[in-house]
Amino acid sequence: MALLDVRDLKVVFNRRGAEPFAAVDGVTFSVEPGQTVGLVGESGCGKSVTSLAIMGLLPKRGNTISGQVSFDGTDLLRLSDRQMRDRRGRDIGMIFQDPLSSLNPVIPIGVQVTEVLERHRNMKGSAAKKEAEGLLKSVGIPDPKRRLTEYPHQLSGGMRQRALIAIALACRPRLLIADEPTTALDVTIQAQILALLRRLVEETGTALIMITHDLGVVAGLCDTVNVLYGGRVVENADRHLLFAEPRHPYTHGLLGSVPRLDSNRGEPLRAIRGSVNDNIPWTAGCAFAPRCDHAINMCVEATPALENDGLRLLRCFNPVVPAKQGAKA
């Protein structure tokens, strides 16, 4: 059984004086225990809102959440605030993009780590401190004892992100959600953090949902990848298959748009035309149709469903034929 099973998750923002906006429009995916799953997409595709909805972190007012998020058999969306608070941090940990704004600036790092231990693992005083020290050490923070007494501003960006990972992993959660954990960091620091995540996932056996816009990060880290567009999953496949033979025109286009370090320099990039603003609503057809080179009449007349072809899930009427694309490497 899957550890996390997200089914038809929908988040609609109700706007005063305007049409309600579906930021997440029926997202379906699942995470097996110990698996690393990627959610990839550009800004506005609903990847962050999906993670916030899973964690129950969206405000109660002003939006409508529907669908199902079963974690280990319990539907998280039906839990009360109190029940959810017990789960958050204990069963599911989360790492955010900007470590400076997700750490409390006026509380020492040590207190922020022990807070979780006291709340969920009933640890107190020196035992909690000792555990916190071990946690900081395990994420590669040198001189952890001293770091515990310091404030977030005294740490560098990479160190802050490590501290945040330590807090998220304090209760050995079975699922870790990382929302763009390396976007604010430099490449060499990003490499450090990704190596750390890879090691921790291996050691602790926690499942990981990696939310990112960077296809390169996904290629090296995730087992399966979900590509999101306009609030829906448009393609889901094993990473090797997805990168070697992208079939959805959007995935195909994304891969063509990224300048690769090892690519042939002479050729221009295959950009996707237009921008996210050109989307049409899913109810009217395929949201990507206005930007798609493969669009046929059917694309603007009917809504494509997410279909399983045995190897992957694909939401497209006229997918890219893999033969001529092939692996670019």
Partner: protein, 390 residues
């Protein structure tokens, strides 16, 4: 769509072989001031500390480095948006640092800049018409309404926007379109040099590709010379003919794009290359990463000798921490600032582990950060604990 740009924007490239831009030992040091009554200078941030490079006419020079390496300050110092504190910069034979007042102002028409954040670099209360014609007016290129209008429309077509954009305001556009406006504003003055500071890093991948392709099309059409400053090595490699890698205020390596990728010589470049994720699982699984230990040291108190020696996996016992390596040409067209570049290339020196050094700013900037080495476990060519004097 093709227009006749040559009619409106005559190519400025002169039949000359000397470089368009020749920078010699450029320095930008920012003073660190303390005190309420006495405004004492207690130290300097060595943002750019002696960078020399030349940019040929019509080429794209890419300057790459991580945050805090001084790449942006270099671009701004070059155009005198911040005042350099040392060195020389020749643009088409004219020394830029000696220019004052009106001369500098008119010179700026020939060197334009494209900024990173297109929203904050466009005046929200000015229409696109106003934004684009302001430069024309400032430089006396605004003959009359009709001619200017024709020019504006032509430039908008060239950057891929419709003429109806003229009456709109910046907030009405998407990020990619705003960046196109930023580019249009720069090239409408028929500059020779365009300094693009992180031109695509604020954009989504699909839109990023559009803007990269646009920059290259415009270069072909107008014969522009680019200095592209960016942190993304893959992007820089794609658009540049030559690439310079910066670390902590200095250039550590410079080579043609392909050469740099195929045979990086400086340890920092190697680490940087190996850290860039490639969107291909086969490549990602197969390659070896050089993980750098620790963070970038503070540019207010750069390490002695080679600035990279605190994090360098190839660091040697001698020279590295005492002598600052000069940028020297090892292979024609390939310059490296490393004492041991040849030995590393030929495999005579192997990489070893580097322990993280903690840098704690204590006792203010006068005393400078105290460097505490937690542990120096070096393997490979050095015996454990064999590095003295750190």
């Amino acid at each position: 769509m093709t227009t006749q740009p040559t009619e409106v924007l005559p190519t400025m490239a002169k039949p000359s072989t000397d470089p368009l831009l020749d920078v010699q030992d450029l320095k930008v040091h920012f003073p660190i001031r303390r005190g309420v009554i006495f405004d004492k200078t207690v130290g300097h941030v060595f943002a750019v500390d002696g960078v020399s490079l030349t940019v040929q006419r019509g080429e794209t020079y890419g300057l790459v480095g991580e945050s805090g390496c001084g790449k942006t300050t270099f671009g701004r110092g070059l155009l005198r948006l911040v005042e350099p504190t040392g060195g020389k910069a020749f643009f088409d034979g004219v020394e830029l640092r000696s220019l004052r007042g009106e001369k500098l102002r008119t010179m700026r028409r020939r060197m334009q800049m494209v900024f990173q954040d297109p929203l904050s670099s466009l005046d929200p209360r000015q229409s696109i018409d106003g934004i684009l014609s302001e430069g024309l007016k400032a430089h006396g290129l605004y003959a009359n309404r009709e001619a200017a209008n024709r020019k504006l429309r032509q430039i908008l077509t060239a950057v891929g926007l419709s003429a109806s954009a003229l009456r709109k305001y910046p907030h009405e556009f998407s990020g990619g379109q705003r960046q196109r406006i930023g580019i249009a504003r720069a090239i409408i003055l028929q500059p020779e040099l365009v300094v693009a500071d992180e031109p695509v890093s604020a954009l989504d991948v699909s839109v990023q590709a559009q803007v990269i392709n646009l920059l290259s099309d415009l270069q072909d059409e107008y014969g522009l010379t680019y200095l592209v400053i960016a942190h993304d090595l893959a992007v820089v490699r794609h658009i540049s003919d030559r690439v310079g890698v910066m670390y902590l205020g200095g250039l550590v390596e410079e080579a043609s794009s392909d050469e740099l990728y195929e045979a990086p010589l400086h340890p920092y470049t190697r680490a940087l290359m190996s850290a860039v994720p490639v969107p291909d699982p086969v490549v990602e699984d197969g390659r070896q990463q050089i993980l750098l230990a620790g963070d970038l040291p503070s540019p207010a108190n750069p390490p002695s000798g080679c600035r990279f020696h605190t994090r360098c996996p190839w660091r040697q016992q001698t020279k590295c921490d005492t002598e600052r390596p000069a940028l020297r040409e090892i292979v024609p067209g390939h310059r490296v600032a490393c004492h041991w570049a040849e030995d590393i290339r030929d495999g005579r020196i192997r990489a070893h582990d580097v322990a993280i050094e903690l840098i704690r700013p204590e006792g203010g900037a006068t005393a400078g950060p105290q460097v505490t080495q937690v542990a120096a476990e070096m393997a490979g060519t050095l015996p454990p604990g064999g590095v003295g004097g750190v």
